[in-house]
């Protein structure tokens, strides 16, 4: 049961063909599913204010526009399935690597990965390190776009466990996945995007 005070509230958010309204509560993970091209990523990017959109998005009652966009994105953090890299080594992408080490190890990577060259990372390593990089911000809302799409079963379980701990600690999570089983495992509510509309699936 959730109280009425939503952590994140999305009202009539329109980005291209996508039109969405919903609430995300503290300590809640909702799954977002839909066919490829249905607008799942568009919706997450619009919530993170990475693309222009119409409508209202609030965090604890404060609108996106009431704060600078960088501040908003540190609170409502979008994690893409293919994280981007701008420097040569892993460490250069972290503000405080030492603080991220426990998370890195929890996802099965050694602390020495700090010195790894980005060019030699596998897809799975990139995905896990990209996730850790975002989790290290400690954002109250995480927007995860297929965070385990490139991972094996073991790494997927580790990511799901890590996110579950965050949810238990009060983080709100929107998790985009094509895997219906995963959606049932990680989320308490499931939504489908079809024809640009977002509807809740019955429990």
């Amino acid at each position: 049961m959730h109280c009425d005070n939503a952590l994140l509230e999305v009202r009539s958010l329109v980005r291209l063909h996508v039109d969405a309204s919903f609430k995300l509560h503290r300590g809640e993970c909702i799954a977002l599913q839909g066919a490829s091209g249905s607008g799942k990523t568009l919706l997450l990017r619009a919530i993170a204010d990475l693309d222009p959109s119409e409508g209202t998005v609030t965090l604890d009652g404060a609108t996106r526009e009431s704060m600078p966009a960088p501040a908003w994105r540190r609170l409502v953090t979008f994690v893409t399935s293919e994280p981007g890299w701008w420097a040569d080594t892993v460490r250069q992408h972290f503000a405080a690597w030492e603080e991220a080490v426990p998370l890195v190890e929890e996802l099965g990577l050694p602390s020495s990965s700090a010195e790894w060259n980005i060019q030699r990372l596998s897809t799975g390593e990139r995905q896990r390190l990209g996730l850790v990089r975002a989790l290290a911000l400690g954002s109250p809302v995480l927007l995860l776009d297929e965070p385990t799409s490139g991972l094996d079963a073991g790494a997927t379980a580790a990511v799901e466990a890590m996110i579950a701990k965050r949810v238990k600690a009060g983080t709100g999570v929107i998790w985009v996945t094509h895997d219906a089983d995963q959606a049932r495992r990680v989320a308490s509510r499931r939504f489908i995007i079809k024809d640009g509309r977002m509807t809740e699936e019955p429990a």
Binding site: D51, A69, P70, V79, G84, A134
Partner: protein, 268 residues
């Protein structure tokens, strides 16, 4: 000062070297012969015309005509900047940004040189102002077009990296910094390279021209140094403002990357 005077007929033999390049292009199937022919005809017509125009302007020595000629030169340079972009900015931004930066940089540096070092009488004397502006303009145009091209292509190529930084809470200035630095380096590199090689690998065109026209080599060198300093100043200033302006236009007040403000021209 004495110099060997050339007639138009004297240029026919050297022009055969261009024809030779065209033949090579056909033989090796480089498909450059058409471009080469057009560029050669353009150059001959443009230079012949400019010879007559400069003769008129020098004789008139009017501030109005001098300013008009300068504006026309800037507009042509802006047009070239737009044409050279693989992905120009939408709307009038590509032309406008190129024109504004070219005008600002070349006018500032040319005026600086006229008022402080050369001090001709009158200060806008077209015999000094226009050739100086032309040399600065040509290099500034190259710097700006290279800088903008590297900026726009870099942002398209590195979109994931830039947006990763934005998503993690960086502001647009920090998120675009690596691409912006690359763009500035690219814009300035041709000028730096030409300076480094000057005198050893190449004798600059203006200096050679002066020497051929009978000027003492030492005096020609002094003029060349002045021009090179002005070119570095103009190119640096123009490229900096153009790249920062381009980066500003390709983001918005909410620190979003706005690649929708670019036109894709994959065939260029």
């Amino acid at each position: 000062m004495t110099y060997i005077r050339l007639e138009y007929g004297d240029l026919l033999l050297p022009a055969l070297l261009v024809v030779m390049n065209g033949v090579c292009s056909i033989a090796l199937q480089l498909r450059l012969e058409r471009q080469l022919a057009i560029a050669t005809v353009r150059m001959v017509v443009q230079l012949a015309l400019v010879g007559y125009v400069l003769t008129f302007l020098f004789a008139a020595a009017s501030p109005l005509w001098t300013a008009l000629a300068a504006i026309v030169m800037v507009l042509f340079a802006s047009q070239e900047i737009g044409v050279r972009q693989k992905r120009p900015l939408r709307g009038g931004w590509s032309y406008g940004l190129g024109a504004a930066c070219t005008l600002m940089a070349s006018a500032t540096v040319t005026t600086f040189a006229l008022l402080t070092q050369l001090r001709p009488d009158p200060w806008y004397n077209p015999r000094y102002a226009l050739p100086l502006l032309g040399m600065i303009l040509g290099n500034t145009m190259t710097g700006i077009s290279l800088g903008l091209d590297v900026l726009t292509n870099g942002l398209v190529r590195d979109r994931a990296a830039v947006e990763a930084r934005l998503a993690l809470g960086d502001d647009r200035y920090h998120a675009l910094l690596p691409v912006t630095r690359d763009a500035l380096r690219s814009g300035l590199m041709p000028t730096i390279n030409s300076m480094a090689a000057m005198g050893l690998v190449s004798l600059p065109g203006m200096m050679t021209g002066q020497i051929l026209a009978g000027v003492e080599p030492i005096d020609a060198v002094k003029y060349q140094l002045l021009v090179m300093f002005l070119i570095v100043g103009g190119t640096g200033l123009g490229t900096l403002v153009a790249v920062v302006g381009g980066a500003y236009r390709l983001t918005d007040h909410r620190h979003r990357l706005r690649l929708d403000r670019l036109v894709a021209r994959p065939d260029t």
